[in-house]
């Protein structure tokens, strides 16, 4: 008979079981801690390493800094791979020790088992015991049967996975009509990029001090070179500083700031790029389809907001390496948001994003050095064309899939800022300090030799884009030479020299043409075959943004304020 009191050797299983439990608790805690650290997150998301890399770009010769990076890099790798080894080996050790615990606990329990007490059973007959045993067997069999039936039933039905969590949002189902686009001013220099509105009651003169001709004036909190866009009574603007990119909506009738939406930065956004003061962090003009407004900033964050200011999506197309800072505005065709990113040789591209959810639809590299011109979308002979300018090519693409339609060489300037315009089937592209080209936009392939209609070197603009109502074409140089040309022949009808420096593009509002200097001096001239100056006024602050003509007047963004100029 076994002794009831365990000997020293028989205490070993109990000691092993206790030791196993202690080990399992400690190792489990360590593994949980490891898991909470995020496995390789410390290695791949080290902000310290990113900061040191940025410092190295500032001080490329700093050998001590290089050593610090190498040391930190090695330390991060060692930490992460040690944690992975601990997790791997620890899991195996836990499985082994759990087995050891079960075996030792079983042994320990057997040795500490008490002798059965027959009196505790009470009086039982053998037949009753047999019946109880049978009931137990039936119950177990029934349980197995139910479990088996449930397993068979479950296997006959396909498992449906829950829908994955995605950032996708409903895609726009309705595109704005041509009439809606013409009625509003949805993009930089209007819906077609021509800078022309047929009917507009803009004043010839105004006075900021007396308020004459000023319907309203509202302060814009953050600076930006971008121009306003308008959709019915909503006026959108962008502004930015080093810490935030902000989209503003103003009421077009009263000038009230309806909302200001600071964008939540894209997770993949890099450090803020270095830009020139003349470009700033919010130079590109937004675009709207009447349901959402789309914006891009100097750090390559592209975002969509609804008209209530809710941010729908954001993505980053950076890093940006444009030497002056990014200034090309966005274009929109149906559900495709088109982004021209000319960042330098070998780093220029055209990207189309799904306007509904920001996912990339296509991307094509461009054989272009850096440029600052905005793309336009034009309908030529029933086909949509996305027309772009950059040294040395004017290239037309199919906005649906990015395939090239035609290209023309001849833009030799390395600082190409004027955007193209398209009149009927003719594209006009400007080469600063060189020729302006009129191109027949119906060819295919390289059409440099056979589709140039005319060239002129008379008053070709350097920064402002051309404007045209189809009858007359206006060029404005940075130095203030305003030329009116015949768009069919390129012959100048008249030329006039104004004083001042001009970055804002001219706009045509009915029978008036408006130009504004960088110091905010505006001239209004008649849109006619003979030069006739109608008025000259001062805004009282800087101005680099292109004016926006509306039926009731003219919206103008100054350095600090947004103005609505109207005689009505």
């Amino acid at each position: 008979m076994k002794p009831l009191i365990p000997t020293r050797w028989q205490k070993i299983p109990l000691a092993l079981a206790i030791a196993s439990v202690v080990f399992l608790v400690l190792m489990g805690g360590l593994l949980l801690f490891n898991q909470a650290q995020g496995k390789v997150a410390g290695l791949v998301q080290s902000t310290e390493l990113v900061r040191l890399h940025d410092e190295l770009r500032q001080r490329p010769q700093d050998e001590a800094l290089k050593q610090r990076i190498r040391k930190l890099d090695l330390q991060l790798r060692q930490n992460s791979f040690t944690e992975l080894r601990i997790a791997h080996n620890g899991t195996h050790a836990m499985i082994f020790v759990a087995g050891l615990f079960l075996a030792s606990a079983h042994l320990a329990r057997r040795q500490r088992r008490k002798l059965p007490n027959p009196l505790a059973w009470g009086p039982r007959q053998p037949a009753e015991e047999r019946q109880a045993m049978l009931k137990t067997q039936y119950a177990v069999a029934a349980l197995f049967g139910v479990a088996a039936a449930a397993a068979v039933g479950a296997s006959l039905h396909a498992v449906r996975l829950p829908a994955p969590v995605t950032a996708a949002l409903p895609v726009a189902v309705r595109f704005p009509t041509a009439a809606e686009l013409q009625k509003n001013w949805p993009a930089f220099r209007g819906f077609d990029g021509s800078g022309y509105r047929e009917v507009s009651a803009i004043p010839a003169t105004w006075n900021v001090q007396s308020g004459h001709g000023i319907r309203w004036k509202t302060e814009v909190p953050l600076p930006g070179m971008s121009s306003p866009i308008r959709w019915t009574n909503a006026l959108f603007l962008t502004g930015a500083n080093a810490s935030s990119n902000v989209v503003y909506r103003f009421d077009a009738d009263s000038g009230t700031l309806v909302w200001a939406a600071a964008l939540r930065r894209s997770a993949s956004a890099g450090p803020e790029p270095k830009v020139m003061d003349d470009t700033g962090l919010a130079a590109p003009t937004p675009v709207t389809d009447g349901q959402r407004v789309y914006v891009i900033f100097a750090n390559a964050d592209v975002a969509a907001l609804d008209f209530s200011g809710k941010q729908l999506w954001i993505c980053n197309l950076g890093p940006m390496e444009n030497i002056y800072g990014h200034s090309a505005s966005l274009a929109l065709y149906q559900d495709r948001l088109l982004v021209q990113l000319d960042q330098g040789e070998g780093n220029s591209k055209l990207v189309a994003l799904n306007a509904g959810n920001g996912q990339e639809l296509w991307r094509v590299p461009r054989p272009i050095n850096g440029s600052w011109a905005s793309p336009i979308v034009a309908e030529v002979a029933g086909q949509a064309q996305l027309i772009t300018c950059g040294q040395p090519w004017v290239i037309s693409y199919n906005p649906l899939d990015g395939t090239e339609r035609w290209r023309v060489t001849g833009l030799d300037s390395s600082e190409l800022a004027p955007s193209p315009i398209c009149l009927s089937n003719t594209v006009i592209a400007c080469n600063p300090d060189g020729n302006a080209l009129a191109i027949r936009a119906t060819g295919s392939g390289d059409v440099t030799t056979n589709q140039i209609i005319w060239k002129t070197d008379s008053g070709t603009p350097g920064v402002p884009s051309p404007a045209s109502d189809g009858q007359r074409l206006y060029f404005l140089t940075v130095g203030g030479q305003l030329s009116c040309l015949n768009p069919a022949t390129g012959q100048a009808k008249w030329t006039h020299e104004f004083e001042g420096e001009y970055y804002a593009s001219p706009v045509i509002a009915g029978n008036r043409v408006v130009i504004v200097t960088r110091k905010g001096v505006a001239n209004v001239v008649e849109n006619a075959d003979e030069f006739c100056e109608l008025g000259k006024s001062e805004l009282g602050e800087d101005c680099n943004a292109t004016p926006v003509p509306a039926p009731q007047g003219l919206y103008l963004r100054g350095g600090k304020h947004l103005f609505f100029l109207s005689d009505l």
């Binding site: 390789v40 791949v44 890399h53 790798r77 996975l161 994955p164 995605t166 993949s268 993505c315």
Partner: protein
Amino acid sequence: MRVAVAKGEFMNRRNFLSGGLRGSLLLTLGGVLGAVTGKAKARNTVWQIDPWKCTMCGRCATECVLELSAVKCVHTFDMCGYCQLCTGYFEPDPNKLNTAAENQLCPTGALVRSFIEDPYYEYTINEPLCVGCAKCVKGCTMFGNGSLHLQIRHDRCLNCNECSIARACPADAIHRMPADHPYQFKSRERKT
């Protein structure tokens, strides 16, 4: 003609043709049923990344249930430009074009750069070191021709019923593929 089929019984042409027709119909019916059953049987599928949808967010490295993610970088060599300044290998604006830690994008040194001939270099992946962080993929896709991309490796993937990376993927780039075609590699033919 009459054929003796058993003692006292003969098969004439009419019986032979009608019997043959019935047999053919039964065979056809059986074939159709077999084909339908075969089609109805669920195909085995596995998880895979669509490299054209992938936005290189880096979550594959941290969201997988495995200690070291089942997602790893793969390289389509016929797309690679064998560049001296590989934007998947080097930090943006690198200090020098060498293998020092301050110049490399890969946090684990899994991308190996080998000299071929001036000015070409070959880039291979040391797979045990790759954690699937997509830093090289992002560099290559943004500024190169996108020959580096991510794939789920089926020698590591547990093929979970609900893939934790798929749930976290912001681009919905992870989807089920037939197990007999478990990979989706990039190629020169552009996909829109």
